[in-house]
Symmetry: C2
Subunit: 214 residues, 2 copies
């Protein structure tokens, strides 16, 4: 099971992997067997050399003039992305965003199964959203143990985000996906991935400004 460790993939390359994966899968439906980096680049609006570099990280090699074996390539990319095995998650904060994430069916394809929700609101507790039951924050510990929860998703308001992170950490969760616009303080062995719409919006605004200047 212990696979030889290829060197870690740079984050920018990693971020492009899902797009490759979806694209490559769409090709299987068309009966494609070999695919060249030139073709991929062309269809995804990238340059061939970047695709070539990115595919290097799969550890596979392609055949000159022919390209890569599509099936193996997809498998390798899925392995890199971890889409081949499921992680269980719990989402804390079943407001609008929480509901949206709970209801989103696509995560299952991305190796993520959000198995339950958590909310302080007693009216929500015991009810279901998209077939997932909502629990009280007190129950995090039990939930985590019983369901091998690896990821805690935080969609509570800013004010409660740190407290919720603390609860997750106390329950033994080592990875947090944080949608609240705060820097969470956690022990060194806990990974926090911040999702920040404000940042993206900032990038968009700047690009709009620059576009207008042309």
């Amino acid at each position: 099971m212990t696979q030889i460790d290829r060197k870690a993939i740079p984050v920018p390359a990693l971020r492009r992997m899902p797009a490759y994966c979806n694209y490559l899968k769409s090709l299987t439906l068309k009966g494609v067997v070999y695919i060249s980096t030139t073709a991929v680049a062309n269809d995804l609006n990238l340059i061939p050399i970047q695709v070539r570099k990115d595919f290097e990280y799969t550890g596979l090699s392609g055949r000159p003039k022919i390209g890569y074996n599509l099936e193996m390539l997809i498998e390798a990319v899925e392995y890199i992305l971890g889409w081949n095995k499921m992680s269980n998650a719990v989402i804390a904060g079943v407001g609008n965003l929480g509901k949206a994430l709970l209801s989103y069916q696509g995560f299952k394809n991305y190796g993520l199964d959000i198995i339950a929700g958590i909310d302080e609101d007693k009216k929500k507790q015991g009810k279901e959203v998209a077939g997932r039951k909502i629990f009280s924050p007190d129950q995090i510990g039990a939930l985590v143990k019983e369901n091998k929860i690896g990821i805690g998703i935080i969609t509570v308001p800013v004010e409660s985000a740190q407290a919720m992170a603390d609860l997750f950490v106390k329950a033994g969760v080592k990875a947090l996906w944080n949608f609240a616009p705060v820097m969470l303080i956690v022990p060194a062995d806990v990974v926090v991935q911040n999702e920040n719409l404000a940042s993206s919006l900032a990038v968009l605004s700047q690009r709009i400004k620059q576009q207008k200047e042309k």
Copy 2:
């Protein structure tokens, strides 16, 4: 009104700006007047030199031993982020995610006002979500003209994303914020900002893997 153009801020620095802005604003409540980059770095888990570099982009200068004037700094950062002036947006696709974004109150602080929704579903048309009316896709043109819509937000399913983008483009919208996991094809003068949860999840999974190896 045409301000002298400071050189464009690198994207990574820009992405850090919202965090600075929120943090700095929280300081005003405490009556802080001058703030040093050392203190900011300390509170935001960054290194002082990075903060110093980032603050350089504001065009302001700080006073050795004292720091930066908080009020001016906030103003400068808000200017960079464009949070000082509103852009109107319309959101296409009032499913779970669409509803979540429509209902999120925070965007107003980020200079974004989502003034209406668009959905193919006739049952949704004419109704309201979070006080915003839902229209039919046919009405995009009129909506855009009447409300000076600068940004089209796409939260429709993958299959309809390109078609919706085309409608926005046809209506004259020059900026799209795309939450559908596809590469949209648009004219060169249209800016597309892709929001990709799959990418973030990929980064999170890799970091979890690496953490476990330690």
